[in-house]
Amino acid sequence: MKTLLVFEYRRGKPAEANQELLGFAAAAGGECAGVLVGAESGLPAFGGKLYLGDIASLGEYDPGRHAELVLQAAQKESPDLIVFLQSSYGWDLAPRVAGRLKAAQVSAVTGLAEGGFETACCNGKMRRLVKPATKVAVLTLQEGSFPLSGTPSGTPAVEKLAPSGSSAGLEFAGYEEPEKKEVDLAKAEVIVSAGRGIGKKDNVPAIAALASALNGEMGASRPVVDAGWVDHNRQVGATGQIVSPKLYVACAISGAIQHLTGMRNSEFIVAVNTDKDAPISEVADVMVIADVMPFVAALTDKLKK
């Protein structure tokens, strides 16, 4: 099995998620090479061969010419698999490459199984096992599916490529930075919620600080909202908002059923509580048994470093 990993740059530097490509290569075994549009001054930690296109001339987004680069690398390597991240870059570029090669593409791969690929479907609720029928297959990897154990290391052996080809009718015209928005818990990737067990209103800023250290939003259980410690628009639960973030941290929330209704579909749930058997343990992936406020302070501190 030979894989060609398509690394990506995000806003001028290698994406941290690139390590999932390495995690995939480790899981798949066999030889692997990489291809990247980037700069020599900022290469991903990777010990293999890397075909490098110059970002100064190719730009961060130019799928016509980036596809050309990947195809050139593929021609040199003759890989069995060309692997992208399932990202705004990967899902845009992968089908262009697959289409040119008339290669099977499997999107949102979550695992390797039975000589095929497991992929997420039905909004992530179900899985499919897909088997490509073509000699070379294109994959995009579902975020979080191929974690790399350990930190990536190595310096790639760079071979520069200068793709010909056109920009396929596209012209990149720059970035637009995100606007500051009102609280929308439904869209937050991380929510840190405060429960009655935080004790007093004065402790709310510490919870908010943890949320911001995790680049998330602060939520709250109903008693905290009813007590007037936190605004209603942050309430999670049957009568507040129904949320399903990537990470939900419940601080001093015992897990009344009306709260669980609002957050149980979160992808990963951490509960910080003094009671190991609090109902929230039914849905928690991790129970941290500790005094809440000192733990929150310590965690915030470590995250900021």
Binding site: R10, P95, C122, L129, G169, Y175, K246, V286, M287, I289
Partner: protein, 259 residues
């Protein structure tokens, strides 16, 4: 201006999914179907463009079994001028390459200036049809549009990127635009328009005549993911040590601590 919007009908995502007899996709029994949410944004954007130019024409196309006519009628009620149904009782067995080939088989004769579709379907989630179709037709293609405008023969689309920033991309027509949630506010079809849509044309085309491409990949199994085990308990030690342990777990099991 000739506009095409390609839509899919998908089951309500709140449903419980069970494998079909062959174990290769979900059983349709007990499922309620509706227009793929991403495609609703595509239809809305297409209708908005259509309304700006009275001389333009907007067709909506769907490949799938008889039930997709309901989704086509919704698109007609939202403002599409005519519909194209490519009946295929077993469309779920086709891979994105085949579906894109069928659409291309129709679109290459249609002289379209712009084609909208959802960035992905909620059930398959492949996100391939748009770019594949563009490649087959020789159109430019922008994916994941969360903003769209058109001036002359140049479309300007904003792509949604990780972390909330947007990438602004100009695309020369003819173009395929794949639409992300939040691009606009899809309208509800009005009841009078639902009734009037009865009179709009729904052309029925033969899939085999549009494309005879074979599948490049096949679905072997359909199943629920393995459930996560009982939770991990972290306890003992001082707060800082516990916090360190939790950070290790979060790094391993989630993506939120990556840039």
């Amino acid at each position: 201006m000739k506009i095409l919007v390609c839509i899919k009908q998908i089951p309500d995502m709140a449903s419980k999914f069970k494998p079909n007899a062959a174990g290769s996709w979900f059983s349709e029994a007990d499922l309620a179907f509706r227009m793929n949410e991403y495609d609703e944004y595509a239809v809305e954007e297409a209708v908005k463009l259509r309304e700006k130019d009275p001389a333009s024409e907007l067709a909506v196309l769907s490949v799938g079994p008889a039930r997709v006519v309901e989704a086509l009628k919704k698109a007609l009620a939202m403002g599409c001028d005519r519909a194209v149904h490519v009946p295929d009782e077993e469309a779920y067995r086709k891979d994105p390459w085949q579906i894109a080939s069928i659409i291309a088989g129709y679109a290459k004769k249609g002289n379209f200036d712009i084609i909208f579709t959802g960035m992905q379907s909620q059930d398959r989630g492949s996100a391939q049809i748009g770019p594949l179709l563009a490649g087959m037709l020789g159109f430019s293609c922008v994916t994941t549009a969360i903003g769209f405008s058109l001036e002359g023969r140049t479309a300007t689309a904003k792509r949604e990127l990780e972390g909330g920033a947007k990438g602004v991309v100009k695309a020369a027509l003819p173009a395929v635009i794949t639409c992300q949630l939040g691009l606009n506010t899809p309208r509800y079809p009005t009841l009078p328009n639902i009734m009037k849509a009865k009179k709009k044309e729904i052309a029925v085309l033969n899939a085999a005549e549009l494309s005879s491409e074979a599948a490049l990949a096949g679905t072997e199994k359909f199943y629920a993911p393995v459930k996560k085990g009982t939770g991990l308990v972290l306890e003992g030690g001082d707060a800082a040590a516990l916090a360190g342990k939790l950070i290790d777990v979060l790094k391993e099991k989630t993506t939120v601590l990556r840039g």
